[in-house]
């Protein structure tokens, strides 16, 4: 039963490299190496970010459910990111502003740099600068960063739902967003030029 290796096992490094290649290949193939394509999600002219992102999330979530059901994967053994309420909310908000100004996120900028985008190189340079700043002033907000730790909180438990019920709702919301965005994109792209 999975997970087959621990994250510190040297085999995990080899597998991570292969997974990374697939990750980068798919991102680039879907058009995530273009900041103008990525930013489209915020202006309605291209929803590829939302389509790829939510399709991937529901595919993986349903897959994990079945892997557990078949006894292939012990879900209690996999890594769940801890939820620090204030820090997660602030961090997500800052990333939102960074996304709309910079046009990339770290993963997409890495794959854009790989195909020669200079703006991606600058984004990554800025990213590294931001990380250095965060660490330099860490004592000032260390308390906030570590406050309100909810551990590996799960959304369906927090909402008081069965896992399957939540997953079904998640899939339905994703499907509804695909239909709605296809409609919006059709209307908006009529008047916007090609990029």
């Amino acid at each position: 039963m999975g997970p087959l290796f621990t994250a510190t096992d040297e085999w995990s490094f080899v597998i991570a490299l292969v997974i990374g290649i697939a990750f980068g290949f798919i991102l680039e193939s879907a058009g995530f190496s273009s900041s103008r394509k990525l930013a489209g999600v915020f202006y309605g002219y291209d929803f590829v970010v939302l389509q790829v992102f939510f399709t991937a999330a529901i595919t993986a979530a349903i897959g994990l459910l079945f892997f557990e059901y078949f006894g292939w994967l012990d879900l209690s053994a996999i890594w769940i990111n801890k939820f620090y309420i204030g820090s997660a909310i602030l961090g997500g908000g800052i990333m939102g502003v960074g996304f709309i100004i910079g046009g990339f996120c770290p993963g997409t900028s890495a794959c854009a740099l790989a195909v020669g985008k200079i703006d991606a190189m600058l984004f990554l340079g800025g990213f590294i600068g931001g990380v250095i700043l965060f660490d330099a002033f860490f004592p000032f907000y260390k308390g906030f960063y570590k406050a309100n730790n909810m551990g590996g909180a799960l959304i369906y438990e927090d909402l008081g739902m069965e896992k399957q019920t939540f997953l079904l709702l998640f899939v339905l919301v994703a499907l509804a967003s695909f239909i709605a965005t296809a409609y919006i994109q059709k209307r908006v792209s009529k008047k916007s030029e090609k990029y």
Partner: protein, 178 residues
């Protein structure tokens, strides 16, 4: 007479839903094999920690560093799966770019702004993302995508904030894009 083209145009992008299903399978396999999902920001944080370890080791050894836990017990910050993963992302992105004829050195920007403006925006946006993903304990992939896949509250909150604030701020920065 037929026009002779030296370079063929780039190929079309993959269908987004097909890309999404493939990416979902990759996330699933990542959890199955290595217990953890995808990640991009972690490798860069570890890169910064490695440089700090060389030039200001006393900072990293103290609790004043956010990356203290990368080196506790004499660990090497770069000996981590996320570092290998980002190397893979570069290789995979390059391969797809090569196959689809999209390898080209350029600074992409809206025709309505200058290269210089786009360059400054990319730097500032990157810096904000660096700070944000540190607070968020991961970026769009490590905190957002992985988090939603395992139905973690943190993942849904981070994604809702990234897109919610992104949409709220979109109007103010529209001149950068449209």
């Amino acid at each position: 007479m037929e026009e002779v083209k030296l370079q063929k145009p780039p190929k079309k992008y993959m269908n987004p839903y097909l890309a999404g299903v493939l990416l979902g399978i990759v996330i699933l396999l990542s959890f199955y094999f290595t217990r953890e999902g995808l990640g991009a920001s972690g490798a860069f944080k570890r890169g910064v920690a490695k440089v700090e370890q060389i030039i200001i080791p006393s900072h990293l050894d103290s609790e004043d560093s956010a990356f203290h836990h990368y080196v506790t017990g004499g660990k090497d910050p770069l000996k981590n799966r996320l570092v290998y993963m980002i190397v893979g992302v570069f290789i995979g992105g390059f391969l797809s770019g090569a196959i689809n004829r999209r390898l080209k050195l350029k600074l992409e920007h809206s025709p309505k702004i200058t290269s210089r403006k786009r360059a400054i925006a990319a730097l500032i946006g990157g810096a904000l993302f660096g700070i944000g993903s540190a607070f968020g304990r991961g970026c769009t992939s490590g905190a957002g995508l992985d988090g939603m896949a395992v139905l973690a509250t943190s993942g849904f909150v981070v994604v809702a904030m990234i897109f919610g604030v992104g949409y709220a701020a979109a109007w103010f920065f529209r001149k950068l894009w449209i």
